[in-house]
């Protein structure tokens, strides 16, 4: 392999891939959500554009691209314009640290399916997802309008509150894996033969609930509760800026599902590693296993949305402060204790 390929082509290809991959997932996810929810509600959903309507999200994006970009006069132009970028940027950047599969060997060269492996990858992802909150706050504040403001205020309180249980449960994983490196966490799960989701079910459940809340999805979709706040913090946005918020929300869902899979369900590892009869599962590429797993969690998102009513703000906050945080704390203490005694 020439140095040109190894040092230029592959890195550039990876950079393109890290932008394309979330975008493709977003398109798939938007289509899937609309079709699955429609199915659950006895409707058909979009089925005209492309095979079974798969190109509907693309058509929507093209439409949004040509729409007039409206900014109302009282809005703060700088913050108003920067916030969709901030939201999108932080979601996409986090994908650099997400390992999609096992490294592939091509001769002497090892192709890693991630851009960056950092000893504190987990922290960076959590930090980046916090940055996206700024996008939401700025967007709601800069719109200078009441509904977006209320949506943004709700969002701040919600995401800040739910980051505490997230952090506490992520810590338990870091404790057990003795690493904050996402690749290392998967390797440890491979070595120990158990996925952390089964080892620490409480951690997984708390993390998953908090993750739904952090991505502002039903039943915790209060910042953009349609029946109350019209569209929440992005009410005043139109055209491509709105599309950015919209796509970022889905990209965030994909990111969170990836995190759940990597932290708790062995990332790219095939299931049942210890069962000899199922050894053929290893023949399937790791990337496929990873995709199957995140699709399961993405489907769960859609399923929950179609089933549950929306929480009210006070019960949402009560849930996190009275139940999830104490539970996460107790869980953290137990895990730490067990880890210490071993």
């Amino acid at each position: 392999m020439t140095p040109f390929v190894a040092d230029v082509l592959i890195p550039v290809g990876k950079i393109v891939a890290v932008i394309l991959y979330p975008m493709i997932m977003v398109v798939v996810m938007i289509w899937l959500e609309r079709r699955v929810v429609a199915l659950m509600q006895g409707r058909l959903g979009p089925n005209r554009v492309g095979f079974q309507g798969v190109l509907q999200p693309v058509a929507d994006a093209v439409k949004l691209f040509f729409k007039e970009d409206i900014m109302q006069r009282q809005a703060d132009a700088f913050l108003f314009n920067i916030s969709p970028v901030l939201v999108m940027f932080s979601s996409l950047l986090a994908f650099c640290f997400v390992p999609l599969g096992e490294p592939i060997r091509i001769g002497t060269y090892t192709l890693t399916l991630w851009i960056a492996e950092s000893p504190v990858g987990l922290l960076i992802i959590l930090g980046l997802s916090s940055i996206s909150v700024f996008g939401v706050i700025f967007g709601g504040w800069a719109s200078n309008s009441k509904y977006p403001l209320m949506g943004a205020l709700r969002s701040v309180v919600q995401v800040l509150s739910y980051e505490i249980p997230t952090g506490l449960t992520v810590l338990t994983v870091a404790f057990v894996a003795r690493s904050m490196d996402l690749v290392e966490i998967v390797r440890r799960q491979e070595a120990s033969g158990t996925w952390y989701g089964f080892l620490m079910p409480v951690s997984f459940i708390v993390f998953w609930i908090s993750a739904i809340a952090e991505t502002n999805r039903a039943p915790f979709d209060l910042p953009e509760a349609e029946s109350e706040l019209v569209a929440g913090y992005h009410t005043e946005y139109s055209g491509m800026k709105f599309a950015f918020f919209y796509m970022a929300e889905y990209a965030h869902m994909v990111l969170v599902s990836s995190l759940v899979v990597i932290l708790f369900f062995g990332g790219w590892l095939p299931p049942f590693p210890s069962v000899k009869a199922l050894a053929f599962l290893h023949a399937v590429p790791g990337f496929v296993w990873y995709l199957v797993k995140i699709m399961f969690f993405l489907y769960l998102y859609v399923w929950i949305r179609a089933t549950l009513p929306r929480y009210r703000f006070d019960s949402l906050i009560r849930l996190v402060w009275k139940w999830l945080i104490p539970l996460a704390l107790a869980n953290f203490l137990v895990v730490a204790l067990v880890r210490f005694l071993r």
Partner: protein, 364 residues
């Protein structure tokens, strides 16, 4: 966050105001301090318009009042005209009217169920409710060809007979609805989130409800048995056996339960009416040009949304001198502020939904 009282304008372009209603809210953080409904965005001058139309021409216009329950409006108006002109309606026509009116109540309540659930965020129930409502609308379509603005009741009787085939079809639809309702109830009744959002929310005491003139399921949810079909029977309702479901707490949850039970009672009434459908004419002899001697009457019926009343004053010509409508949505809306005060902003939407208003009827 120190966040002083702000005024929030909800509507007329808002996804949850059920039409073009505007609410002027004053909120402190998310707590509602005052609610002022601003109406008139859909005003079409109906009552004035009716003065220039003959008695018969008014009937199809009443469809456009409460457009989710157009047959009930037809019935309310037509009964008032019949009372004014002294027209005796054949028993078979009265029974068919009961069938139609109760099916309309079913359709209206099912639509309400969908809207209410959607307001609280259970979006699937919206579709389930409408799916069930669709089966009822199909009956109307088969009966007279229309689904929304039906115009299915005429002065003196009904336009079409209800034959055995249609009766069988109605029975089939009625058999399907409890199953669909059970599915919806499985999703909502014991759902923690649903209960948090409805139990104890938007409470109104029986005394206040009477003071505000609240009628219909909203009043019965407070525990007051006031149903025109029982208390001042019209159109042979006294010949049917049905219960008036009552709530206890007068909150959103009780209104939900009362309406669900009313759906079951309506099914019961329709079944009885189909079983006991008498033979005979479907319409009384009504002169082509109906002229009514000077008089004035007021008549009320139990529409799906509450007590619907019509006041008509005649002057001896074929056109009414004055028609005044007492619309349940308009009067029920008055108690909104009482119910919302001190609750959270999120609850305004749920409470408004539980009042089951239709703007076509409020603005007339």
């Amino acid at each position: 966050m120190a966040f002083k009282e702000i005024d929030l304008n909800m509507g007329p372009q808002h996804p949850s105001t059920h039409g073009v209603l505007r609410l002027k809210l004053a909120v402190d953080n998310e707590v509602v301090l005052s609610v002022e409904p601003v109406i008139g965005y859909l005003h079409r001058g109906m009552e004035k318009l009716w003065e220039s139309l003959t008695y018969t021409q008014v009937v199809p216009l009443t469809d456009r009042l409460d457009y989710l329950a157009s047959l009930s409006n037809n019935l309310g108006y037509v009964l008032t005209v019949e009372k004014l002109a002294g027209i005796e309606v054949p028993r078979r026509a009265r029974y068919i009217r009961v069938v139609l009116a109760e099916l309309q109540r079913l359709a209206s309540h099912l639509a309400w169920l969908g809207f209410q659930a959607n307001d609280i965020g259970a979006m699937s129930v919206l579709l389930y409710g409408f799916e069930a409502r669709e089966t009822v609308l199909d009956i109307f379509e088969e009966y007279c060809g229309a689904r929304l603005t039906i115009h299915g009741i005429r002065i003196g009787g009904v336009p079409h007979d209800l034959d055995a085939a249609l009766a069988a079809r109605i029975r089939k639809v009625l058999d399907g609805i409890p199953k669909r309702l059970a599915d919806i109830r499985a999703l909502l009744d014991d759902n923690r989130i649903w209960k948090q959002r409805t139990v104890g929310i938007g409470r109104i005491a029986a005394g206040d409800a009477i003071a505000y003139g609240l009628t219909g399921p909203g009043l019965r949810a407070c525990g007051l048995a006031w149903d025109m079909r029982k208390d001042i029977p019209y159109s042979s309702y006294d010949e049917f056996d049905f219960d008036v479901p009552l709530g206890r707490n007068g909150d959103v949850y009780d209104r939900y339960l009362v309406r669900l039970e009313e759906i079951c009672q309506s099914i019961r009434i329709v079944r009885q009416a189909l079983d006991g459908l008498p033979e005979g004419e479907t319409s009384a002899k009504v002169p082509r040009v109906l002229k009514v001697a000077p008089a004035e009457v007021f008549h009320t019926i139990e529409a799906p949304k509450g007590v619907l009343g019509f006041y008509i004053k005649s002057n001896g010509t074929d056109k009414p001198e004055r028609v005044k409508m007492k619309s349940p949505s308009f009067i029920n809306l008055q108690s909104l502020e009482h119910m919302c005060k001190g609750n959270l902003f999120s609850d305004v939407v749920g409470i408004l939904g539980s009042l089951d208003i239709v703007l076509g009827e409020i603005d007339k």
